[in-house]
């Protein structure tokens, strides 16, 4: 395979570089590091497995949320290790990511891919992890202007979720538009990046947070590079 999957921490490094907010936390290798990191960050925390062989961590049992103390972290570590061995026996576990729990908000997906014919393309959708069921998404060719990002938001059915449904606080759509534009620039300017995705991105009354991120690079085989 010519594809290379980045670890979540590496994908989030890209986001940090582009000033997209991500949860505080650390990539760690041992349960002791997990506990000291959790104590530095402050409970509650989230523990996630990191492996290039596991693209969808929740499906593999590789995520535990709402860990309130040291005991929770130790238990979560054991449970994840066990679940991942079962669900993805061939995956090499390279470590864990421990992060602060992001407060709840409106979950959206901001993704990007490099299309064979049309090149860098951006996707926006509502529904967070349920995106593949809801299929409430819109696409645009990258790079985007801010106005095009707003247009993408208005194109999805879930748009009212962002504007303050039933008396809820309206979301910070300006910050969201900013992230969509940035993701369009990431895909347009990063050579070899085939797919990039923030899912979910949590949108708050003020600001956003990229809770999970994926990046897949694809490098052309030498015999095709001439084309």
């Amino acid at each position: 395979m010519a594809d290379k999957i980045l670890l979540e921490s590496e994908a989030k490094d890209i986001l940090r570089k582009w000033s997209v907010p991500v949860p505080r936390g650390a990539a760690i290798k041992t349960v002791d590091e997990a506990i000291s990191s959790a104590e530095a960050t402050g409970y509650p925390v989230v523990l996630k497995v990191m492996s290039r062989g596991i693209l969808h961590k929740s499906d593999a049992g590789g995520v535990k949320t709402g860990l309130r103390d040291r005991g929770d972290v130790e238990r979560a570590w054991a449970e994840i290790s066990c679940a991942v061995k079962k669900s993805s026996p061939s995956a090499v576990v390279e470590g864990f990511l421990i992060e602060e729990m992001a407060p709840s908000g409106v979950e959206v997906i901001v993704g990007a891919l490099r299309d064979e014919q049309f090149g860098p393309t951006v996707m926006f959708g509502t529904g967070g992890i349920a995106v593949e069921v809801m299929k409430d998404v819109s696409f645009s060719l990258a790079p985007l202007k801010e106005e095009e990002a707003f247009e993408m938001m208005r194109e999805v059915r879930g748009y009212p979720l962002l504007t303050g449904l039933r008396g809820r606080t309206p979301c910070d759509v300006d910050a969201l538009a900013g992230v969509i534009v940035k993701v369009s620039r990431v895909i347009a300017s990063t050579e070899g990046l085939k797919e990039f995705e923030i899912n979910p991105l949590i949108v708050y009354g003020k600001g956003v947070m990229a809770v999970d991120a994926r990046a897949i690079f694809s490098f052309p085989r030498p015999d095709r590079s001439a084309g």
Binding site: I109, Q117, F118, G119, L141, E195, R214, I216
Partner: protein
Amino acid sequence: MGDRRDLGFLFNPKSIAVVGATDAPGRLSRIIMESLTLGGFPGAVYPVNPKYKEVMGMRCYPSLRSVGAEIDLAVMAVPAPLTVDIFKNARGGLRAAVVISGGFSETGPGGKAMEDELRGVAEKEGIRVVGPNCMGLYDTVSRVDTLFISRERVRRPRPGAIAILSQSGSFALTAMDEFSSLGIGVSRVVSYGNRMDVNEADCLDFLAEDASTGAVVLYIEGIEDGGRFVEAASRCAREKTVMAMKVGKGRAGGSAARSHTGAMAGRYEVYRAAFKKAGVIEVAGYEEFMDGCRALNRLPRSRGVRIMIITDGGGMGAAIADACEAAGLEVPMLPEEKRAPLLRLFPSYFTVANPLDLTGSVTDEWMRGALSETLKGDSYDLAIVAALWGPPGLTDAMPGMLSAVAKASGKPVVICSPGGDYTKAKKPLFEKEGFAVFDTPEAAVRAARVLAGRQRARYG
């Protein structure tokens, strides 16, 4: 060699050779000869075929070279394997060719190899190629007709401002035949088949600058160079309406993508994004394609999406308003300053709103006044008039009165005229005045959406 993008000589050739020309009735090359001569092509036509001295009373040449003059366009009606040799032997005397023949890349690896060889020779000899595996050109400006389908079976549309670019030859011909029946005119039609060389983007570049073309409609199966298409389509769409029908929507993405984004990105989603970026108005299918063409044939582009609905039947007005909303068009309330002048036109018990229901008491003058008052100023971009012929106050003079108002306003007015025999009999009154008439609220709104340049709604 000049700018490869300048295809003027292809669209306006001065001389055409038909390679493989024959007198034999029913043969494709014979029909092509007939198409060219019946179409009244004013330039030189050279039949080329070593088997004959004369074809259809014209001197027939044994080879392209033997013509002894530069040939702008050759229509190649010979089996695929011969095409390569004929290109090789043309030796600089040929500028462009329409390769009708199939048997190239569409047939598999063997045909692909032959097409690659043909491309190589054409590039070396400087010959621009339309096709292979195509119908070629029908052009009312240069009067070129390379179609191998007889005029008896498929009528040719009158001259007009719509250009058709089609990956499918049969789609182009079916549309042309319907255009002829509906009185829709075309400027240029290109069926480019395998588009080994000349593709939709090359044609869009030419048509963007073409004074004879006011709108471009495309039938698209797939696009190879997406970036080039978006660039050319964007440029063309700034000047004129570019409308596209994309088929093969269900096909999944080509790569085995694995993120959610990858899984959601069917090919069609990316095409939609490309159309949006370029300002190409997508139509959902053949019905909408024809509705759009009928509108583009007769009516000016709309500057925006604000629709005024005028009717003498409240139900039809409400149905149009619903269809507008589903299509992403706006039906804004009547602004305050329009209420007083409108109220002066009607009896005191009238309510004025959008949709504006003129009721069964309607008269020609009410219709005219309502359209005139509402199109005035900058409140609305387009009007849909649903004129129901039941009320006795409407006479045959009404369409002409509406037409005068529409022309003075410079805004598009779409006529929706559902009904039975009496109504259908009145349709020509509108058409004579230059209106496009639609039989249903949905069709009228489809037409309005195309004129307003509104992208197709994701849901609806």
